[in-house]
């Protein structure tokens, strides 16, 4: 059901990896060679995520969409012991969630239920992961649903501009692949192909299990042992990271009959795990505040000016607005970037951001699901789930200079994309810059 409530701010894009909140001390163990991370929750909700690493690294461009379809099929196309309806009906009875999805870095099968319903839900989760049936009739149905969902997402202008930006910026890289695929590819996929693909990626070598729940350790480990015993070890998997830098400003546009125009820019960012990473993350958060103040408050150019650090196997900085005045926007943007590059951030901005990080540390992790997702992301992308607990402390140590320098180092040429009325925009202002000075942030 769509309900339209109007808010002061659109939800901030929290593309950066969140920090986890430790109620009681989290611990790590290994079952059948698979790393298992357990965060006691202090509540009656159980969240378990089975992660399969790789995402867009797992398939070629002509098969994009296959992993998403496979993950959806786990719960929508029956299992060895249940047809689709009996599987879903059992979940309904206890208002539990078991479903699969994927992103550019990893796939997830998650379960979420009330602790007292664990014994009902666990067998379903376990079957979905290890004994999916890929029933042909149900597969045809979810294939059409996947096409509908793809098109529905493309009708959302914020989603559409971000997909378009990724496609242009990451051409010939893994990150150009859209996990949702294309209509043409989805139409051609068969249940047999999709099942074979899933069986190929379901190996203990690619897996990680995250549990956020108050569960007896021995019980949990024995259940996980049974689950993982049924999964082959598979060859060692190396999660590849790829550095991204833009060598020339570009501007690409698509004509769309929208009530406003959407603009997005992508530029470089430090790789996960490198020394600049935390400083750049803070820099982008402060820049987001300045961007909001200048674009929206002081110039009234957009309801939704956003800038964020999108981290993953490929980590990049992104900027976006919806605006009826795209040429005025780019002038304000250039000036803003130039100001940071020239004068750096202020000490009080960095100090305030450290306080905001602390609030965010707890706020984003009030739910078991958010905590599990944070742990999973940190483990897959950084190879260090404990980062979810130490980030606030690490950020506290940063100096203003480190934060400013990180911004200067990575913000340079930008890939700009635009959807809307092409008559409203002058592409030259995006490619040549608007400041015309030596240290113009847009490097001509």
């Amino acid at each position: 059901m769509k309900k339209y409530v109007f808010s002061l701010l659109i939800a901030a894009s929290v593309a950066n990896i969140n920090q986890a909140f430790a109620q009681k001390e989290a611990y790590e163990t290994t079952v059948d060679g698979v790393k298992v991370i357990v965060q006691p929750s202090g509540n009656s909700i159980v969240e378990i995520q089975a992660i399969i690493k790789g995402g867009v690294q797992n398939y070629s461009a002509d098969k994009m969409g296959i992993e998403a379809l496979a993950m959806s099929a786990l719960t929508e196309c029956g299992t060895a012991n249940h047809d689709k309806n009996s599987f879903k009906n059992q979940l309904d009875k206890v208002s539990a969630t078991v479903f699969g999805y994927t992103n550019k870095n990893f796939a997830v099968l998650r379960m979420n239920c009330i602790k007292g319903d664990f014994d009902t839900v666990w067998p379903l989760f376990s079957e979905a992961l290890t004994q999916p049936k890929f029933d042909g009739k149900e597969f045809t149905r979810i294939q059409q649903d996947a096409i509908n969902n793809l098109k529905a997402n493309e009708s959302q202008p914020d989603v559409a501009i971000d997909k378009y930006a990724d496609k242009i910026a990451f051409a010939n890289r893994d990150y150009a692949k859209d996990p949702e695929g294309t209509v043409e590819i989805l139409q051609k996929l068969t249940p047999e192909q999709t099942k074979a693909y899933y069986e190929g990626i379901l190996t203990r070598s690619r897996m990680l299990i995250v549990v956020v729940a108050d569960m007896d350790r021995a019980t949990l480990e024995s259940k996980l042992k049974v689950l993982l015993d049924g999964i082959k070890q598979g060859p060692a998997f190396d999660f590849k990271k790829s550095f991204f830098r833009v060598y020339k400003n570009t501007f690409s546009s698509e004509n769309k009959d929208l009530a406003t125009n959407y603009v997005e820019g992508i530029t470089s960012g430090p790789e996960a795990g490198t020394p600049d990473f935390d400083a750049f993350q803070v820099a982008m958060r402060i820049f987001a505040q300045r961007h909001f103040l200048e674009v929206r408050t002081n110039n009234g150019l957009s309801y939704a000016p956003q800038s964020w650090f999108s981290s993953g196997a490929t980590s990049v900085a992104k900027f976006s607005v919806s605006t009826t005045q795209p040429d005025k926007y780019i002038a304000v943007f250039d000036k803003l970037v130039d100001q940071v590059k020239t004068d750096g951030f202020k000490a009080d901005e960095v100090a305030d951001m450290k306080v905001t990080y602390l609030t965010g540390f707890y706020y984003k992790n009030e739910t078991n699901n958010a905590q599990a997702s944070s742990i999973a992301s940190n483990e897959v992308v950084y190879g260090d789930w404990k980062r979810s607990l130490t980030l606030v402390g690490d950020v506290k140590k940063l100096t203003t200079e480190e934060v400013s320098d990180a911004f200067r180092k990575y913000i340079g040429n930008i890939i700009w994309v635009y959807q809307g009325d092409p008559k409203k925009v002058n592409p030259l202002l995006y490619t040549n810059g608007t400041l015309h000075k030596a240290d113009n942030p847009v490097n001509n």
Partner: protein
């Protein structure tokens, strides 16, 4: 449930306070504490120490339902202006700077029967946070230059909506469902009204609705209720009551029932896949609170995978999704069915949907087991809904504005009491055989290919 301010003035203040507290103490969930200040401001403290944060929210009975055409969209613009300037923070740069110093996460929303503002920060900043909120709610500054900058921002939010086919469909349905009173149901408003709004109009809204006796302050988090009440009273205690109930003084005109069903096909090139929406005028909390409860139970039944609706549409591949929902309102809430149809089977999907709706009130439309399952789901959902402490104020204040705190507290128990007969009564009163508005948003070429206008019309 409208509050009445008709106590004889001969009552002493002390007696009035005592009587008010004793008689009006609402039922609340465990860990929730309520107090009404002498100026009429209601304060709820929710003790929840899951994380060391505090969330404060102020909710005001304002929103689209208070807007005639000349004010359409201005409750929302007012909400934006709350974050602009006030006596303590005279421009938005200073305002934002203060939120950054507090490390606050904040937002505001405008809906049909509520406007709310909320901040989350470290628990030790509670006093500073309440003072910050006090300055914004009581002492705003409206400058023409600030409004000039904020009007295109709010209009930009509208344009973003108009760039989304789902919004276009919803907006089209609202126009037909509410007729002449549509401005009372669409908070985003009218472009021209937003773009010509003045500081004087902001003051009109403030002087009608922004009073303690029309507001609820909620403090939730790692706090102690006695201390939180004391802080709230010391900060908001001298905020003067209006002396009148705004909703009584400026009454909401009655919504005219639909006299016949209406259909429309909205063609747009941006609808990559079609959506359908069917809507009815549903119950009002004021006149049929029982149906407000019943509506949620039926919505949950037809959301079950085993339900006839899901089996007929989703299981058979006629739709990717179908959902039915009722939006709780004090004054006529909508009942909406939203469908993402299979674009290759539009007519079959639409025909089947109508067939299902016609059967909704039949004795065998759902099983006893499904009714039981729906109630069990609503019970468990209460646990899920209470997982995130920072959302608790907003969940409660929605009900404070549109129903009552007692209704909110009793809701889960009352779901368990709903019978098949209650559901059939609700459906026969509001849905089955009743006039509705049906809309579809679709690409022109697809619409032409299937000649959608030929079947998406009155029979």
């Amino acid at each position: 449930m409208i509050l009445k301010f008709t106590k004889p003035i001969v009552l002493s203040i002390a007696l009035l306070l005592f009587t008010g507290q004793l008689m009006a103490q609402p039922r609340l969930p465990e860990g929730y504490f309520w107090k009404k200040l002498p100026n009429g401001l209601e304060v709820v403290v929710i003790e929840n120490s899951k994380v060391p944060l505090a969330t404060i929210e102020i909710a005001v009975k304002n929103g689209a339902y208070t807007e005639g055409p000349e004010f359409s969209g201005l409750s929302h613009l007012f909400e934006h202006m709350f974050f602009k300037a006030n006596k303590d923070y005279p421009d938005q740069e200073k305002f934002l700077k203060r939120t950054q110093e507090l490390g606050a996460i904040w937002n505001g929303t405008t809906d049909v029967e509520r406007v709310n503002y909320f901040f989350t920060f470290d628990r030790d900043s509670l006093k500073a946070g309440l003072k910050f909120m006090n300055a914004a709610i009581r002492f705003p500054i409206y400058r023409e230059e600030d409004m000039k900058k904020e009007r295109p921002v709010v209009d930009g939010e509208f344009q973003r909506g108009e760039s989304d086919p789902g919004f276009q469909l919803w907006y089209g349905v609202q126009q037909k469902l509410w007729g002449d009173l549509v401005t009372r149901k669409v908070a985003i408003g009218i472009h021209e009204v937003i773009n010509t709004a003045t500081p004087e109009k902001m003051m009109v809204i403030k002087n009608k609705y922004y009073f303690p006796n029309n507001s609820l302050v909620t403090i939730c988090g790692d706090v102690k209720h006695d201390e939180a009440f004391a802080l709230a009273e010391s900060i908001f205690g001298d905020w003067a009551s209006s002396g009148f109930n705004p909703i009584e003084k400026y009454p909401i005109p009655p919504f005219k029932p639909l006299d016949k069903s209406q259909y429309f096909v909205k063609e747009t090139s941006i609808a990559e896949t079609p959506y359908m929406q069917l809507s009815w005028q549903g119950p009002s909390y004021l006149t049929d609170s029982a149906s407000v409860v019943t509506a949620d139970v039926f919505s949950t039944i037809v959301g079950l995978n085993a339900s006839k609706l899901q089996q007929a549409l989703v299981d058979k591949g006629l739709a990717s999704s179908v959902s039915l929902g009722y939006t709780t309102c004090k004054y006529v809430g909508p009942i909406d069915i939203f469908v993402v149809p299979n674009p290759n089977k539009l007519k079959e999907c639409y025909d089947e949907l109508n067939k299902q709706i016609a059967m909704f009130a039949d004795d065998d439309y759902f099983t006893d087991e499904q009714l039981k399952d729906a109630k069990a789901i609503l019970l468990r959902n209460d646990t899920f809904n209470k997982e995130k402490p920072s959302t608790l104020p907003s969940q409660m204040s929605y009900q404070w504005c549109s129903t009552s705190l007692n209704f909110y507290t009793d809701l889960i128990d009352n779901y368990q009491k709903v019978s098949r007969a209650d559901i059939q009564k609700y459906l026969k009163t509001y849905v089955v055989g009743k006039p509705m508005v049906a809309g579809i948003v679709i690409k022109p070429e697809l619409s032409k290919q299937y000649n959608v206008a030929s079947f998406f019309a009155a029979k």
